[in-house]
Symmetry: C4
Subunit: 233 residues, 4 copies
Amino acid sequence: MSSKYKLLKEECYEANMQLNALNLVVYTFGNVSAVDRENGVFAIKPSGVAYEVLKPEDIVIVDFDNNIIEGAMRPSSDTKTHAYLYKNWAEIGGIAHTHATYSVAWAQSQLDIPIFGTTHADHLTADIPCAPPMRDDLIEGNYEHNTGIQILECFKDKQLSYKEVEMILIGNHGPFAWGKNAAKAVYNSKVLEVVAEMAYLTRQINPNAPRLKDSLIKKHYERKHGANSYYGQ
Amino acid sequence: MSSKYKLLKEECYEANMQLNALNLVVYTFGNVSAVDRENGVFAIKPSGVAYEVLKPEDIVIVDFDNNIIEGAMRPSSDTKTHAYLYKNWAEIGGIAHTHATYSVAWAQSQLDIPIFGTTHADHLTADIPCAPPMRDDLIEGNYEHNTGIQILECFKDKQLSYKEVEMILIGNHGPFAWGKNAAKAVYNSKVLEVVAEMAYLTRQINPNAPRLKDSLIKKHYERKHGANSYYGQ
Amino acid sequence: MSSKYKLLKEECYEANMQLNALNLVVYTFGNVSAVDRENGVFAIKPSGVAYEVLKPEDIVIVDFDNNIIEGAMRPSSDTKTHAYLYKNWAEIGGIAHTHATYSVAWAQSQLDIPIFGTTHADHLTADIPCAPPMRDDLIEGNYEHNTGIQILECFKDKQLSYKEVEMILIGNHGPFAWGKNAAKAVYNSKVLEVVAEMAYLTRQINPNAPRLKDSLIKKHYERKHGANSYYGQ
Amino acid sequence: MSSKYKLLKEECYEANMQLNALNLVVYTFGNVSAVDRENGVFAIKPSGVAYEVLKPEDIVIVDFDNNIIEGAMRPSSDTKTHAYLYKNWAEIGGIAHTHATYSVAWAQSQLDIPIFGTTHADHLTADIPCAPPMRDDLIEGNYEHNTGIQILECFKDKQLSYKEVEMILIGNHGPFAWGKNAAKAVYNSKVLEVVAEMAYLTRQINPNAPRLKDSLIKKHYERKHGANSYYGQ
């Protein structure tokens, strides 16, 4: 196989396998994509294929208007959501969607995840947003495309930037996360799940636990992401 | 061993081992069966045999009146429940019973599992039914046979179809799940356990979390199961 | 090494390793013993030795008056409790003590574990007893010996038989379980932990969940343990 | 590489890998250091390096004033906290910091972990202290250095000895633990996580669960740590 998208498919394949290795999915309840901005396409997991049998060459190449460019299989049923986000958010390189347990539980609760500590603040300074359940007129239309609309509307309503907040919960559904590439999108999915579990436990222990105070939010975020960041190599 | 049921036993064996691999059982707290409609028999796990030592040839062949057709061991103590379901529900091919943790917890709570999100709606559009504890007159009779009666009565009372709702909780006991074959019955047992955990967490986070709205229930189910389904290959 | 207790030590060693394999202990927070009634001795884990380095020949042989009969190492700090139980309960062959998570949580809650379902009833017909915290006069005395006294007092107060109820929680401490041999004691420790988790979840889901009704308790227990039992081979 | 700190780096490396093996960290959310008192330096994990690729020679050697003595990589972003503790607490040999789930949940709850049972009392006789969130004037200054100050202030306020209480929660952040060497610091981090989970469950089961009574606290601690201790070899 001498596809020009060989590397892109491999990036996408590895990221999907990570989803499984990190216990973020059971069966086929998740998918990751990786974009190639130059060619205006992205690679995405085929629909309903088990991780145990998935191979790099099964990955499907799709453009931002949902045309299949390369691949013998049907792409993930969530493909249109990915396409919509790539089309509208020019600086993301990968997207991951899961049904991870604690992330879904918060999504089903229809509540934002409050920022309770520095594990959260090391990654984003806002509560993790939970989009309200989709409006009926959107459900009856082009559902997965409209999930993309739902995500952008939520970010607009809450005045969030997709470059700073790289994750969202869709009410009654589950999480989407993104980042500079597919691996980072998976990383953000895992961070979201860890933070979701910690926030759940925090409220069980102390229903009146306060949000992290602003001075600490700012400090921890700048430590990792500010102009003078000093985390990592 | 040149049994005419060799393939059936192997299907049954593999499904039982999956139960273990998916963390749905400890020790021998579970069993799966696979039916052969043509010959009017089913294969089922022998009673009380540990998964570490279970072999395909240990699987017992039983008919729908609970006569042992082939096998040196005593079949699962729940055999009569399986037989009753196969006899009455002509289109199921496999049945699984477990004592998986979250499924049992809901069964012990004697509550239906509310449909809170799309993970649930991707598989069924109803709350997962919990049959009330068995009536005393049934307990004193043919207990496992009567568990079958209890399941059918619950489906009748709640006006459910076994083709659409492939799982149930028996109050104070635990889950049964079924499907077109043994592997699908195990799959449904895992889905039930995952959905049970998510619903538990949802209510802990938000005791007032609403059921999924009808428009979304319908959409997600049709995406996978409707005439125009577009999930999978 | 040609010890006459070679087989006894191996039984004890295997049971201790099972404790670890079943996720019932971290570090050295647990111990199992196996009795040799003919010689009036039992084999027990040495104190504070990690499972990764434990060897069969490290197991210590002790008599019912806590004299070391064979072995170069100091026996478990809980040895006197084991000795007291073997001395007073003539028909047990093995004892296991753990700090398994859910068992300890109930012990710290100082509550009996209510019988909520058939997973519990398949093993015992009573609530799992939780002994009240030790009286101060007993604590100041021979502590581990007195833990044995505490266990027998609790069984007397609650009118329980050690042959029917093979497990107990010590208030503020943790579980002890026993059985016909060391492997059965470990099995009962795992059953207790599973039942403890299910009961915890049940009460979280439904704080008013009723105890299993008497007719079902009786039925399930007799299925496995009655004169006409029909579970297992 | 013939560094004079070769053994120190290996001790530090092994302890960091243990953190991962004991499920106390995801990704790079933790770090362990090991001190060399004679040379007035300590070895610490480099910042942001994944456990899968970490090698003993990557470990960085730092003195108590945060000067890098040896190593090509940037040390952990928490290095100044480690340095401050080593400088002020003359008798500790290792420090571990994690974002372990239950420990963080209590830290985010801003509550001390009550001593509910003997698992806790076997290790320390006090509630596990939770330092209040850092004062704003400290946050704006030298943050990680000031985390050290925050820890010492909390121990002074609560009149605790670092030799008896080898662990703390930093409000809104997470746990630090220490001990005679790096392995013991990791051990204490695991004990803290186990005790944190048990205490969480205890309060869920019985919100009125009482603290362990003083006589039992004293007894269990002396069993392991008193002049006449009789635990271990």
